[in-house]
Amino acid sequence: MFEDIKLSKFFWFSMSIAYAFCFSALYTYATIPEYVLELNNTAQINITMKLTTVRLVIVAIALLTYPIILFRFFKYAKYFIVALTAWAVTVYIDDYFVLSEIIQYPERQLFSLVQSLRPILIASMFWMSIELVFRPLSLD
């Protein structure tokens, strides 16, 4: 199955980084202690958690859908990954430049770590997009 679509090892490496990041984000959100939310029960944190829930639902759907598209509908995989990369960049720009005065993440080390690693996710997704868009077409 892996030989059929002929992608570089760096692509699979980038994909595993992206998956690892998304799973760690899901884990961080799922295991957030109650007292963290109770201590920081501000409107900003509540609204941030609401937004994060919606985003993580989209992430979970993307995590499940992407392998299916990559292995079954390879022709459309490039559009899918470009859309996801655009979304990741949009969310990053939104958080740091647009919604910076409105949202606030709870104070937790794991949250800060996941937030600081977001550029790595974007870089790996960017590489995946480039490889799928600019890969030479096979003759068959």
Binding site: I47, K50, L51, V54, Y79, V82, A83, A86, W87, T90, V91, I93, D94, F97, V98, L99, E101, I102, I103, V133
Partner: protein
């Protein structure tokens, strides 16, 4: 006067050679009229939306809820309007040069869906339809715009189609 030495077969071959393959007129891609119509709609809609963003943030329209702009919403609208303007410029450039149009269209589509989700989640509590009727009209019709973008993405021709 017709040259009697030239028969119909020769005429056909001469005209055939001068048609598709060697014609410079066929080097560019002609998009369908539906594409051009939807493309114009997207441009018009986005430009009016950007103008409305600035009208709302400048508080130039009569509103019911005066607390509307005092919750960081003003800054969000300005930043969104600027990003949308940049994306619209990229959208038109990629259509003009016919390079990467589908990707720019996809990015614009994702951006619009994301901003719609953000608005729905963050500002649904105090952004009522009656606050800014003109602006609300555009928020309500946003799905139409998203459908238009998706349609343009599908019907765009990025290669010359041979007969």
């Amino acid at each position: 006067m017709k040259d009697k030495n030239t028969n119909d077969l020769e005429f056909r071959s001469i005209l055939g050679d001068a048609s598709d393959k060697n014609s410079n007129d066929k080097d560019y891609i002609v998009q369908s009229s539906t594409f051009r119509l939807i493309f114009s709609f997207i441009n018009l809609y986005t430009l009016i939306l950007i103008v409305l963003f600035f009208i709302v943030t400048g508080n130039l329209v009569e509103g019911v809820n005066n607390n509307f702009l005092e919750s960081g919403f003003s800054y969000v609208l300005s930043a969104r309007a600027l990003l949308l303007l940049l994306l619209l410029i990229s959208f038109n450039m990629s259509a003009y040069f016919n390079y990467g149009f589908k990707y720019v269209c996809l990015i614009l589509l994702v951006y619009m869906i994301n901003s719609a989700i953000d608005n729905a989640v963050l500002f649904s509590g105090f952004m009522h339809l009656t606050d800014r009727p003109y602006y609300s009209a555009f928020n309500v019709t946003r799905p139409l715009f998203i459908i238009a973008l998706f349609w343009v993405f599908i019907i765009h021709r990025d290669k010359i189609q041979n007969d």
